[in-house]
């Protein structure tokens, strides 16, 4: 295979994943949190594709496509929540959604 080996791809994947995780953990805007989640998912997808290539086996790609579909579903629900929040005239802040406090 031309270019860098699989470990390099995996490194990029984990870097993306951790970047997204920081966004999820540190940002309070639900929009940014959702975008960061997408980055995490894509990091995972990259790892899946890299392993798929490594083993020469298409199953990893199937998995990645499924993840994409799930991400699309998640985006629908997440954006629906954000729109609902906005209509409720709440601040767009994930910490506002704390009515499950025990």
């Amino acid at each position: 295979m031309a270019g860098p080996g699989i470990p390099a791809y995996l490194g990029v994947a984990v870097f993306l994943f951790v970047t997204g995780a920081f966004g999820v953990l540190l940002r309070r805007s639900p929009l940014i949190v959702l975008l960061s989640l997408e980055i995490m998912l894509n990091g995972a997808n990259l790892a899946l594709i890299a392993f798929s290539r490594h083993w020469g086996n298409g199953d990893g790609q199937i998995f990645a496509i499924s993840v994409m579909a799930v991400a699309a579903a998640e985006v629908v629900v997440g954006l629906g929540l954000i729109v609902a929040m906005a209509r409720k005239k709440l601040n767009l802040d994930v910490d506002e959604l704390s009515s499950l406090k025990g």
Binding site: V94, S98, G102
Partner: protein, 635 residues
């Protein structure tokens, strides 16, 4: 014939189920009619089976009919089957015949009670259970019926469940019967372990040389019989069982269930004959009960309890009979006793009914003029109980006594005790009878039945109808005829109907000679009459009939107190001990501890649920990191 037996068994069950399931759909009257007709239908079926069996040859009268395989485990198999033979047929006829009369009687007696339907449902259930007991084709079914009659007896004794004494009596009956059930079950388990079958043929399959096993089995069976038939020392439940409605006392605690022990010994006679000592013990217990129960009956003041002790005493005769091998005579006495004792109870029921529930004979008196029909039939029943010549009790009791005399010196000793019992019977019967029906009427009697009492007692609670409605009097009349003439089934050894009938199933061991018959037949009624004379002298004229009993008799020979000491008190002591040392700190304490710990943990864990999504995400990330480190470390 077998089909008739199945119908006989299942009709009362159908009646009980219908009454239970239909509930309020059924009127109270209809429930009574349904119960009566189901039991009467069973009687008709039993009669059909009887007539058909008469046509069979002597040796072909035993039919085992299997409905379906009930249990099957490996080579062991128990069927749901019924055994129809002369012995079970006699019991079936008595149970359904007397039973249908008593259920009919209770339509009148229970009229106006709040829960009549429940009563009739229980009654039908009882008849089914009793039929299952006598018809069961193997030991296991016999045990099932045995337990079911205990259950329905419990339900019926405690029928008036708002009365604490009735509930206590029901519990007592159930617990004491459970002792018998346990020994019976042990006996059956031993039989199964020894022979690997549960049919009645297992009884003769036991190794006759293995005396330990035989004695164990016989003792277990005897324990069951003693408890169910209220023989010493497990008799204390029967007098208390009189808390139940009077028809229950008549049906269960006089005519049928309490005689199940006699049936059991007769049915398992092969075991008892092999375990001879145990059979002698059975006879001894019977003899002891005759005297003890007769003596206690002398001083009881509750009319039903007097009859209850008399029942114990009469069953004692039957135990003497089966204990000495006079099976046919015992079954004969079982039958005639069912007639006259049911009659006595029903008569007592009419009296109690007329007096609005009063059972104390000291409050009664002078009822002869006020209740002439009841007087006549109670007179006949009492004469039969005493064994007055030519009444039914005369033939049967004397047959047992003659059989006892015919079976050696031990039998002769028991014969003497039986004679004493006959004397006691005369005394207590005449005491009860004279106190209730002769003398001057008491205040209560005048209030309830006197000339100016009309419209007062009659309206209050449905009781106090004079001598009762026709549904009560018809069965009483039929039973009066039977109590009077039922003994002619077997007259000495001139006409041995019962003996011949049962010969193929339970052949009697001894044949009394002419003089033995004669001395018993003359001696027993004579002693009975002596007792009556004595009773007449003491109780006949006096109004104040409060007897001057010995204190120990009044306390029923301290049996209840004894059981209280040896069984209840230690149990209560242990229970208190366990409560204080184990229940309190460990069981209850651990419950509190678990509660507190969980609650505290919840209080702390609640703080984690701060509702902030990001902190949940942080927890996930942290645990992910920790897990990663762990996976790396263990790699």
């Amino acid at each position: 014939m077998v089909a008739a037996a199945w119908i006989c068994l299942l009709l009362p069950l159908a009646g009980a189920l219908l009454i239970t399931l239909l509930g309020n759909v059924l009127s109270r009257k209809a429930a009574g009619v349904l119960a009566t007709s189901s039991v009467a239908g069973a009687f008709v079926a039993a009669a059909v089976a009887f007539v058909t069996m008469l046509g069979d040859g002597e040796q072909h009268r035993s039919h085992l009919s299997t409905g379906f395989t009930w249990l099957s485990a490996g080579s062991f198999q128990a069927d749901f089957s019924i055994l129809l033979d002369p012995l079970s047929l006699v019991m079936m006829l008595v149970i359904t015949g007397v039973g249908s009369l008593i259920v009919l009687y209770s339509i009148g007696y229970m009229h106006g009670d709040n829960e009549e339907r429940r009563f009739f449902g229980y009654m039908a259930l009882f008849v089914f259970s009793m039929l299952l007991l006598v018809q069961g084709g193997n030991l296991l079914l016999l045990l099932v019926g045995w337990g079911l009659v205990g259950l329905s007896s419990y339900l019926l004794i405690g029928f008036w469940h708002e009365k604490p004494s009735a509930v206590a009596a029901a519990k007592k009956a159930f617990i004491i019967n459970a002792i018998g059930d346990a020994t019976f079950a042990i006996a059956i388990i031993v039989i199964i372990q020894q022979t690997h079958i549960v049919g009645f043929d297992a009884l003769s399959a036991l190794n006759p040389d293995n005396h330990g096993v035989l004695n164990l089995v016989a003792l277990g069976l005897l324990g069951g019989a003693v408890a169910k038939s209220a023989q010493l020392p497990l008799h204390t439940w029967l007098p208390d069982a009189m808390e139940g409605p009077t028809p229950v006392s008549a049906l269960i605690h006089a005519a049928t269930m309490v005689t199940a022990g006699v049936y059991l010994i007769a049915r398992c006679h092969t075991v008892f004959e092999s375990a001879h000592q145990v059979q002698n013990i059975a006879a001894g217990i019977g003899a002891l009960t005759i005297v003890v129960a007769g003596a206690i009956a002398l001083v009881q003041t509750d009319i039903k309890r007097v009859i209850a002790y008399s029942t114990m005493s009469q069953i004692g005769y039957m135990f003497v009979g089966v204990g000495l091998g006079a099976y046919a005579s015992s079954m004969f006495h079982l039958m005639t006793h069912a007639f006259f004792k049911a009659l006595l109870f029903m008569g007592a029921g009419i009296v109690i009914h007329a007096l609005s529930g009063e059972q104390d004979i000291r409050q009664m008196g002078g009822l002869r003029k006020l209740m002439p029909r009841t007087y006549v039939m109670m007179l006949i029943a009492s004469l039969a109980l005493i064994g007055f010549p030519l009444t039914s009790g005369f033939f049967s009791k004397d047959a047992i006594l003659a059989g006892a005399l015919a079976s050696g010196p031990y039998g002769a000793a028991l014969w003497v005790i039986g004679m004493i019992g006959a004397l006691l019977t005369g005394v207590y019967t005449s005491r009860m009878f004279l106190t209730v029906f002769h003398g001057a009427p008491g205040d209560l009697v005048l209030r309830q039945l006197g000339p100016d009492a009309h419209g007062q007692g009659a309206t209050t609670d449905g009781h106090g109808h004079g001598e009762g409605p026709r549904t009560m009097l018809i069965p009483v009349a039929i039973l009066t005829v039977l109590a009077l003439g039922g003994g002619f089934i077997q007259v000495f050894d001139w006409w041995t109907g019962m003996q011949t009938w049962l010969e193929s199933v339970v052949p009697s061991l001894h044949e009394p000679t002419g003089w033995q018959e004669a001395i018993s037949s003359i001696g027993a009624p004579l002693l009975g009459l002596v007792g009556v004379t004595f009773g007449w002298a003491v109780y006949g004229s006096r109004k104040d009939t409060a007897p001057k009993p010995s204190r120990s008799l009044e306390h029923k020979l301290y049996f209840d107190e004894l059981y209280d000491r040896i069984a209840y008190a230690p149990a209560a002591f242990i229970a208190r001990f366990v409560t204080r040392l184990i229940e309190g700190p460990l069981v209850i304490g651990s419950g509190d501890l678990v509660g507190h710990v969980t609650r505290g943990a919840g209080e702390k864990a609640r703080l984690l649920q701060n509702g902030l999504v990001r902190s949940y995400a942080l927890l996930i990330a942290l645990s992910f990191a920790v897990m990663g480190i762990v996976f790396l470390a263990v790699r």
